[in-house]
Subunit: 269 residues, 2 copies
């Protein structure tokens, strides 16, 4: 970890929430980039109505996935082999265009939201975030602005360039900013085993359910549900995987409600 | 200066060039954001044809100004008073939309170009760049990708938020990356005194000409010509102010030609 990691990070900040809205919520899982404009606007409305502008004790970092705006492009190459310059440009432009739709909807709904593109502020090492410039994000939070990050292609010191998923950004940012709460708004009700939502997963119970956890439907190069659970188990922050495709669920999560599957990491059981 | 400043900076890199294309070249200096599509495409073509992809000894960092995509918005508030969250969002979105036009034209002309938005990777202190995440930029240069930055609103530890001009980005980046050469493509032939282009300005001759140096025509909150010369005199890197509105001049600059006004700082005379 480089020194850039800690710059501007304020781990004393109370009640920072990191919320990810999955690509499957915001886009059609098709071969070409296809947004769901109504879903984007509904999610934006729920977020905007839940976040008090400039409330220092109610900080939100938003992350969204790429869905059909990134994964099919990224899948052309394996993660380990890196990408050509043309592919880096193509992947970034497409996912940035989804970010623009999300930001536009958030602003239209009255939220102070600004884009933070990982390509310009994150460096990876073999697919994992090695450095992230947190100072601008910390200062946005200080004044009630919601930074909106997204799964992106980033420069990688080992393999040239790699994909940093929204999931990885969430756990990284939640750790650096000492988040009190993490939400994963997905297109399913939570972690499903034998047709039912598992209410809680801990490191102890993960072994029993992990073989039953299905990955996302459709194309997903970034790990799907099992990857999400694994990322969340590593950190000690109360996390919820819930269905953001159902109207009202984002607002309920942001109001503090427990819903979907709760993931309790080592320090949080 | 924070520790983030030096991360990833490779001051041993040979022949890095930092080129700025002024907002007055790319946009109409009007009250509303108005691009000059033909000028944008011509500049992009000259740059693309001059830069060999993936040539490790021919690195280019590109910066562009905001012109009518930023200055009128920024001027609503004085630099010292900072900006409201709404203004931050508005200023960033408008200048980012110009960046998208520039990036699109560069890619269309065959250049590997990616956007690097200062809002997400720069922090200012009282209007001056205090921290900048250089690691992603360094790694882009390593593989022949051209990072494209722009004048932007950024978070500011002293005044909340402030404008970082393209001019300031140029001198900051040129210093951090040990650039061999700086170009300022403007809408005039160079520094004009008594109707003629001054071929060279040094710290010694600056006193004699400074009262004659006019600022830019139209709205410009970021210092104009006199500010440019002052920034360049502070650093010891061969710099040229030339007319990028004249077809062919950017290509001539990038081919190594001396043109316009040469600014020689303290270490460069």
């Amino acid at each position: 970890m480089g020194t850039m990691d800690t710059m501007g990070t304020n781990t004393m900040t109370p009640r920072t929430t990191v919320l990810k809205i999955g690509g499957s919520v915001l886009t059609e899982k098709t071969d070409t980039p296809t947004p769901k404009p109504e879903a984007i606007n509904r999610c934006a409305g729920e977020i905007a109505s839940s976040v008090t502008p400039a409330a220092a004790d109610n900080r939100l970092i938003l992350v969204h996935g790429a869905g059909s705006f990134g994964h099919p492009q990224a899948e052309k190459r394996s993660l380990r082999n890196g990408f050509t310059s043309s592919e880096i440009i193509e992947i970034h432009r497409v996912v940035a265009s989804l970010n623009e739709l999300v930001i536009g909807a958030l602003i239209k709904n009255g939220l102070f939201a600004v884009p933070v593109h990982p390509l310009g502020c994150v460096v990876a090492e073999d697919g994992r975030i090695a450095r992230i410039a947190t100072a601008p994000i910390a200062m946005m939070l200080d004044r009630g602005i919601v930074p909106v990050l997204h799964g992106d292609v980033v420069m990688d010191s080992r393999v040239g360039a790699s994909i940093v998923s929204g999931d990885q950004l969430v756990t990284c940012l939640a750790t650096r900013f000492g988040a009190a709460r993490i939400g994963f708004g997905t297109a399913v009700d939570g972690v499903i085993v034998d047709g039912s939502v598992v209410p809680q997963i801990t490191p102890e119970t993960f072994e029993a359910v992990q073989s039953q956890i299905r990955g996302s439907d459709g194309t997903d190069v970034t790990g799907g549900m099992r990857g999400k659970v694994l990322e969340l188990l590593e950190i000690g922050i109360a996390s919820h995987i819930f269905n953001a495709s159902k109207p009202g669920m984002i607002a309920r999560f942001l109001s503090g409600e427990e819903l979907g599957t709760r993931i309790c990491g080592n320090a949080d059981v």
